[in-house]
């Protein structure tokens, strides 16, 4: 599997993401935000966490207008896979690839801790390594992770089984405890918690490995 990790000024989880993908067997290239195209043959684009463009205007808003994001949107529209974590999730909502928006945490605090998550669906390349209902621990580290979506869209997300992960103990005020959502074609996942920070014993947990192995394994079978 060929993966590209996008790097914006202010990204800080790009290398962790690359390490997690490589450990799962992916061939990873780092792609700078000013590039207008992705490397040939990329199967997965990972939009990493961090504080792209200093979170100016709104988290992810400036990054979503960068040249590479046009290529990422085109990749997704062709049916390519995209994983956005933390700031990457914010970027994906700002591009319109995923519904909703991430607002300031309800308690106004920056939250940095490992949280319990429930895998809501195993029906996606990202979550097929888990069973629906599994509890996993991933770290969160964000100030703006309060997922907001209107009632009609929430009903659609629920009926189409597009909520990928939910919080056990909602840390940030997200609607319906949502921690991660899938696109309509189930090939774009955005989530606030960091699976790439839970792939090595040194991280304190390896619950994130199944996400990367499942994703990369999808292509090994094909």
């Amino acid at each position: 599997m060929r993966a590209a990790v996008i790097v914006f000024p202010g990204s800080n989880c790009d290398r962790d993401m690359a390490v997690a993908l490589r450990a799962a067997g992916a061939d990873v290239s780092m792609v700078w935000h000013k590039d207008a195209s992705l490397p040939d043959g990329v199967d997965l684009v990972a939009v990493p966490g961090g504080f792209s463009f200093g979170d100016y205007l709104r988290c992810g808003a400036i990054a979503a207008q960068s040249p590479i994001c046009k290529a990422v949107v085109a990749h997704a529209n062709r049916g390519g896979y995209v994983l956005g974590v933390c700031n990457g999730f914010q970027v994906l909502t700002e591009t319109g690839l995923l519904p909703g928006a991430l607002m300031r945490n309800a308690n106004l605090k920056f939250i940095c801790k490992t949280v319990d998550l429930k895998v809501e669906t195993s029906a996606s390349a990202f979550t097929e390594g888990y069973n629906a209902g599994d509890l996993v621990g991933y770290p969160v580290a964000h100030h703006d992770g309060n997922y907001t979506v209107d009632d009609a869209t929430l009903a659609t997300l629920t009926s189409e089984d597009r909520i990928a992960f939910s919080y056990g103990d909602n840390p940030n005020g997200s609607v319906a405890d949502i921690a991660g959502v899938l696109s309509e074609n189930r090939r774009v996942l955005g989530m606030m918690p960091h699976p790439e920070r839970a792939v090595d014993e040194g991280h304190g947990g390896t619950d994130g490995q199944a996400l990367f192995r499942g994703l990369v394994g999808q292509f090994a079978q094909a």
């Binding site: 207008q65 700002e94 928006a101 607002m103 300031r104 907001t148 209107d150």
Partner: protein
Amino acid sequence: MKARVHVMLKNGVLDPQGEAVRHALGSLGFDGVEGVRQGKVIELDLADGTSEATIGEMCEKLLANTVIESYRVEVL
């Protein structure tokens, strides 16, 4: 020409920062502050003749996230 864009959270979207400001005003002894909504003001220095439609497009594409925010343009 100049234009001023006011960006506010839509009605019905909870504004935790506004709520925190309201509490702080209460603790300073200002009674009767029933609600606070916090937004942004963006001033644009524009080429003469820029149409309101163009400014509207700037708001839709970048300055506001219309999923959660509304905006108002004031041409100065």
